[in-house]
Symmetry: C2
Subunit: 447 residues, 2 copies
Amino acid sequence: MPSPITQLELARAGETTPEMKFVAEREKISAEVVRDELAKGTMVIPANRVHLAGRLEPMAIGIESTCKVNANIGNSAVTSDIDAELEKLHTAVHFGADTVMDLSTGKDIDRIREAIIAASPVPIGTVPIYQMLEELGGEIEDMRAQHFLDMVEHQAKQGVDYMTVHCGVLLEHLHLSMNRVTGIVSRGGSLIAKWMMSHRKQNPLYEAFDDLCDIMRQYDVTWSLGDGMRPGSVADASDAAQFAELDVLGELTKRGRERGTQVMVEGPGHVPMDQIQMNMERQAEVCDGAPFYVLGPLVTDIAPGYDHITSGIGAALAGWHGAAMLCYVTPKEHLGLPEKEDVKQGMMAYKIAAHAADVARHRPGARDRDDALSKARFEFDWNEQFRLSLDPETAREYHDQTLPQDTFKSAHFCSMCGPKYCSMKITQDIRKMAEDGDLVQLGTTAE
Amino acid sequence: MPSPITQLELARAGETTPEMKFVAEREKISAEVVRDELAKGTMVIPANRVHLAGRLEPMAIGIESTCKVNANIGNSAVTSDIDAELEKLHTAVHFGADTVMDLSTGKDIDRIREAIIAASPVPIGTVPIYQMLEELGGEIEDMRAQHFLDMVEHQAKQGVDYMTVHCGVLLEHLHLSMNRVTGIVSRGGSLIAKWMMSHRKQNPLYEAFDDLCDIMRQYDVTWSLGDGMRPGSVADASDAAQFAELDVLGELTKRGRERGTQVMVEGPGHVPMDQIQMNMERQAEVCDGAPFYVLGPLVTDIAPGYDHITSGIGAALAGWHGAAMLCYVTPKEHLGLPEKEDVKQGMMAYKIAAHAADVARHRPGARDRDDALSKARFEFDWNEQFRLSLDPETAREYHDQTLPQDTFKSAHFCSMCGPKYCSMKITQDIRKMAEDGDLVQLGTTAE
């Protein structure tokens, strides 16, 4: 038995690391619960030892901790540069991103990633196949397993905390995607599929899985087992291709844990509301409770431009039914690369979804902020109401737009109803009119 | 037995009216189903005979028809005028509002309502207590039942198709609201409660219920039985006050139907996700399947400025579990009177919610538009994709923002991934590489 390196191995060895203590305090659960969950593999703390030596504040992802939100940033060949990406990072973290993925596929990938890791207090994830493809000059057919292993090691050295790798897309399952409405919609999954078609050989990342584990273990990089076959339309949801890959991910979860690496599993995609609970439960069963990290899912395909909402609905349901982390979707999804304002809108929709999920799961304390805000609302304590809001600036701006005069800002009403129709003001009048016990008596004596 | 007037009475008499035929065609169900549902009271067609003589296109609301969306417009004492309200009506209908409520409480109420009814192809709802209060000079204590009866008749004559009346708030239930975090948050409900507290008498609208039925029947105004005790915070959801009133609404549903009037029932409000299904099922049982018309519900209180999203999540769940109509909530909720852009944002969130509900309920044909849009997406038919979008202008604008050159507009990628990483393009390459049967063979022979 080698000496423990990863949080998983340390937990199994009965050690309570500073990282476990940090997340326990943040989550208001005991460090023992954190350690036990880590040891079982039902919680991960994606914390690359390099990033941990820098600015990283450890983050727990798992069903026993609050529902997390990831924000995707990164440039594409078509648009964006390093300053724009750092601004997106800042915006995402400001609005509460629990992790950030750098999905850059354009120029200056290394400089952008290094700058992001150096600046980020939250775990950073990547999809290493993108940069590998850049270095191959864009021809996926040229890939050999060693190219990929080298890239994973390169990024691990930079301090990447978790990596999406599409090990679960197998040659024998490709035919299951051929009649789909939207085919393969995972970028990494489609690249691997193309490689397999060209070479008529098995997925080299699947075959190199154990070697990948060994590299990732050295830095404690957490797996995010990619779902190359995730549905890209509600028509393709919960199909044979998706679930064939899920079974492979279940097998890899087990193998990854055995080799000491922490494992998350990625999930759909586009799923009608009535299939979401089933999807969450099936993943938990097949992958032995590994933290499920879902992209939405979008509950309808008909609203490009508003997919932060179509997917926010699905994400809230997914979180309620057990997803540990929600990957945000921005209004630009399916249309273009998100910019700063899109990052903000995506974050807001997903902070709402994650919090609504925590409330629906009855997490201890989850509703405290709701109750405090509602109390402030009832008491016309506008400043406190704004302070407790997910986005105080926007709430204040909307309120002040139609009540611009300073004298109105502490008013016992807003412009929605005006003073005469404010139900909360009227309720307070009623309460003043009711003496102690008075109303209870009315309740029993009324005709 | 008087001769039948309302759609309910006509359906019971076995008549298939032009209105029934119209909505049957629109809903792609048979006119017999419409008639049967109307006769049972599980569907309503809010169609005031006055408005029907004007521009009204009848609309079905009920569990056997698609999920509907209502948009609230109307001025307040603080802001807005007739032109602004007509612009909001136009915006709401343009983005798919199935009904519109005029909640004006400011100046020129009659002129605004008449203009709205004259211009509107969709059913118009009101809350008559607002205008009545204006005419009383703002003192609810001065109300007598006759004031209210007169106002209902006045608005019925104008052509209002459905009216929210808070008959279900009873004196003996007031004490149940006293310890709530946010008290009574229905404007009409709080006004009635204040009246009852002042006079220590039963709700006069409850006592005048049969007389109100008689007026409404003459014009075929549909009841929207107001939920004065709806929860205004997640803390107050599903409490004794809410359900005590629901039982009263169940009784009034029965009485309203007996007197020949069509009846809808209003519902919450603020409800955590895990209580929504229960709320929908309880209403259906208590109110014998009367169409349920819900306001959201918001699934968390912490996001003022984004309550179209917090409530869109709840609305989608409500629609899935049986709500017949969703009353939109705009980003301005709790902060100010919605303006035109807020109307648009509220409509978009709710069209998404209603459609996602129809998809989750497996309504025949509900998914056709999703499938067609996804097919266009896969084929890079951008124009068709935009055409099928809920908001084509916004989708096109977002797409073009980062791919401004004309040459790119028909490109087989967008700026999100760029040409090298477009999974749909790669999938098409893969499909070209696969000959007939080729992949199935791979599927069976791969190691």
